[in-house]
Structure formats: C-alpha cells, structure tokens
C-alpha cells in the first residue's frame, strides 16, 4: 500500500499492490517492497515502467532492529531521466531474497558484493561467491556488529 500523497505518482501507483509503503523525500522516491514480491516488482519496473538500468544494489544493516537488513536497489530510467529506490527488508535470522539477476544482469556483481560483506543470500544467483574478500574469509565485515579495529571479533 502506498500512502495517499503518492497516489498521483505514476511509478508509485503502478507498484501499489506489491508495495509495503513508499515515501518521497529529498526529491527521491523510495518504494518499499515485501521481499517475496521483489522479482515481480523489478519485472514491472523494467518492462512496464521502462527503467532500463539497475544502477546499484546494496544493503543497510539496522542491527539490532528486526528485520535487520534493508536491501536497496537504485534504478534509472534513461528516457524518463528519473531515479527510483526500491527497498526490501529481510530478517537477520535467515537473510535471503530472490536474486535480481533474472531481470537485470547488472545485479550479478552487486549482489555478490552484498553477499560478501553482509552475508545476505540471493536465491537463484548464478555465482554467489565472495567477490572482494578471499574465499576462505570468515564473517561479514560490513555488518554493524563487526568492529572496525582489532585483530579478532
């Protein structure tokens, strides 16, 4: 459900049935999607709303709040000269979400990065391995419960 003030917005209203909530702040539109609907939302955004580019995928750790991780997608419509932010919240217990690779191939490395640094698993990703850190690394350094200094944690 999107709030009343965004009913007029063509992008937000097209995502009404998959959206949890939406906001328009700092001139930027953010639509929050339930994680199970993310692929449907991305498909609609790409094919129906013509957002050709997936600019980046990243995550924000809201530790110790639950659901812990926000997966954040930035999309751009080249023709419409417009940006859009999608967000899906996944739990810290079992951080899993469907991979966006099936819709945007650019998601490949960005999702590997999120997996590498946050430990969020992307289902049906073609090659979900560490990208920045060595393959035998233990832990996920960008999580908020990992300290910045110190040799062990």
């Amino acid at each position: 459900m999107i709030p009343e003030n965004l009913r007029e917005d063509p992008v937000a209203s097209a995502l009404d049935d998959v959206a949890v909530t939406a906001k328009f702040e700092f001139n930027e539109l953010t639509v929050e999607i339930a994680p199970e609907n993310i692929l449907e939302a991305l498909r609609r955004i790409k094919h129906q709303l013509r957002f050709e580019r997936l600019s980046t995928v990243t995550a924000v750790d809201r530790y110790p709040a639950e659901p812990r991780f926000e997966i954040v997608y930035h999309l751009q419509s080249i023709a419409g000269k417009q940006y859009l932010r999608l967000k899906a919240r996944v739990s810290g217990e079992n951080p899993e979400i469907e991979s966006a690779f099936a819709v945007y191939r650019a998601a490949n490395w960005y999702e590997r990065e999120v997996f590498d640094l946050y430990g969020v698993r992307f289902l049906n990703h073609p090659n979900l391995t560490r990208i920045m850190l060595p393959d035998d690394w233990v832990g996920y350094p960008l999580r908020k419960d990992v300290p910045v200094t110190g040799t062990r944690y």
Binding site: T58, I78, M132, V148
Partner: protein, 421 residues
Amino acid sequence: MSGANDSSALPDGGITTELEVEQDYEQHERDKSGPRSMVLNMGPQHPSTHGVLRLLLELDGETILKAAPDIGYLHTGIEKEFEVKTYQQGVTLTDRIDYLAPLSNNLVYCLAAEKLLGLEIPPLAQWTRVMLAEFTRLNSHLVWLGTHAIDIGAMSVFLYCFREREEILRVFEMFSGQRMMTSYFRIGGLALEPPRGWQKRVKDFVDIFPSRVDEYEELLTSNRIWTGRTKGVGYISLEDMIDLGVTGPMLRAAGLRIDVRKDAPYSSYEKFDFEVPTRTENDVFARYAVRIEEMRQSTKIIRQALEGMPSGSHQADAPGIVLPDREKMKTQMEALIYHFKIVTEGFRVPEGEVYQAIESPRGEVGCYMVSDGTQKPYRVHWRGPSFGNLQAIPKMIEGTLIADVIAGLGSMDFVLGDTDR
C-alpha cells in the same frame, strides 16, 4: 559457501565464472582427448590491467573461449571506514577511491551530504567545483590516453599526455596544496579560498590545451597502426551494456546520449554550454574519439568558468557546519564555540537517505548516504563506475583474439581502486 547453483539452469547471462574456467581446465587435464584449450592467468600484475585485475582466460590458440575477471585485490574497506569518520573527515576517504578522479569523488560525496543538510552553496563555490571537476576529467582522460596508447604500442603519446597532466596537477596544487589527494571540496563549499593568481594559470592552460589535443590526434587518429588495432575491436551491443551496468563514454560511443551533467544537472552545470559527444561505431576507436571530444568540451567548460566566475563567498553561510573564518574565531565568542564544536565532534546531519549521482570521467559515480541523525554517516555506499563497467568484460572479449583484450580493456578505462574500494 551456500552459493553453489546448478549451472545448467543459468539464463544466457553473458557471464562466466572463475569456477567454470577452472573446471574446464581440470577436465582437459583428466581426459586428454578432444580439442585442447589452455588456461591463461592474465594479471593480477599484468601491466595492461592497470592495477591489480586478474583475468582468467580459456584459450583455443589465440581465440578466447571464456573469460572470467577476478577482482578484490585492492579492497580496503573504505565503506566501513566511512561509518567511523565524521562527515567532514569522510571527504578525505573519497580521494582514495578513484585516485585518478579525486575531485569528482569529493564532489559527489559533498553533494550527497549537502542534500541531507539542505545547504545552499554560493555560486563562486559551485563554479569552482565545476571548473575543477572538468580539470579532473582532463587529468583522468590524459592518463587513460597515455596508458591506453602504450598498451597498444604507441609509446610517445604517453609522454605528451603526461606533459599536460603535469600542468593540471600544478593547478590542483595551487588550489588545494595537493597534487593528487586534493580533498578540496568540503561539505558547505571549498576548503580554502581560490588562491591569488589562479586565473592566469588556468588561462595559460586553456589557451594552449586545444592545440595539444590536436597533437594527440595527429599522432593517433589517422595512424594506420592505431586504427588497425582499434577499429572494429571490442564491440558489445548497447542493450548488453545497459543491462550489465555500463555507464559513461562506453555508452556514448554506442550512440546513446547519456550524461548526468545534462540529464540531472548538479552544481550549476545547467548554466554551462557544452555538447555531449557521441559516436555510433561502438568499438575501441569510437571510445577513443568520444573521449578526445570530451577533452575539447571540458576545455570549453573551463574557459566559461574562468570568464564568468562569480564573486562572493567560497563557503555556505552555515555557522554550525562550516568552520568560521580565522579572524572571527580569534575575536568572537560564538565563532570560537562553533569552531570548537565542529573540530571536536563534528556536526549532526538530519535523518534520511539520499542517492547522488554525477558524471565522473568514467561514468556514473553514485553516493548513497544514510544518516541516523548523528555526526557520522550510518552507511555510505559507493557506486563506482569502474565496477559496473568491468562486469561487461566477458561479454566483450569472449570470441575475440587475445591481442584485442588489451585494446578492449584499455577502452573501458577502469581504475581498480574504484572497483574494489
């Protein structure tokens, strides 16, 4: 890792994984029958990879069957580091991400923070930012042209390019005191007032530079070896590039007029008159031609900034955020308090999240900043253009000759610091 997937279920993604190449190699080792391919490790210290990129190439003779890039050798955890630095301290980290375009990175970071703070930047600071950002583009393109030409075998172009680059670094030094890690743009404006006499140095440069670009073109554009190595090489379709996350001159060389400076103007770019050059051939030569033309356009922007530079303050009127004038700090109580507060604990930034994109020399650089209302960013994500561009490598070079890999990689103009962060 729980990442093992059934590779037969893969959509045709134009992506090759390191594992796939390694498995092929083992298979060939086990049963010696059939056509034998060779696995070649290119990098991480190969000179044409400009930094530490490792490419796993599976070859049949000189033809590349599969290619898998391996990155991460320069990962320094900069995104984590942002979270323990105050907003103003974070500026210094941005220089080190893409070390060939420090001022573009300063700019996108400052713009993101200023968006959260709702700061209005005075015209003098905005115009100086535009001018120096264009100098950064020239600097980066010159390093690219020089090294790209060396890779392909034209040694002397490098020397010409670095002659002009030296002049640009002197301009940076004059403004900020630093040649490379400038940190000249700060949240709220500029670090220092523009130095006395900068106009002359900039004018000398813009007067001479167009003729220098002609010199590079004389050396390369109609050079038969150069055209032979670059024309028709490194093709990748526009649809693939957009879908794989490529931005910047690569897209413009494929005929798409995309430029953040025009599409979503920032820092008063809308007041400048310049063209966005495009080509349609979509090969290494087209990318070279686009960047050469961009150099001319950047010179045009610098000249406009030089001639129309507004007067006024170099910092926003925001006492709690911008450090007070030295004289005021010594004579006024409030200024002293602000100074003390800013230096010891920084300033608070209202809660919220923004994504700011600008056109760096390599493409779209984006800064996603999340604030929780404290003095330090809750999260800063850096969308480096090199990271997106590098994803397209397998698609571009698979099926081509190994000599074309060098030309193709060079035409992407990536910086590994930007890729790995």
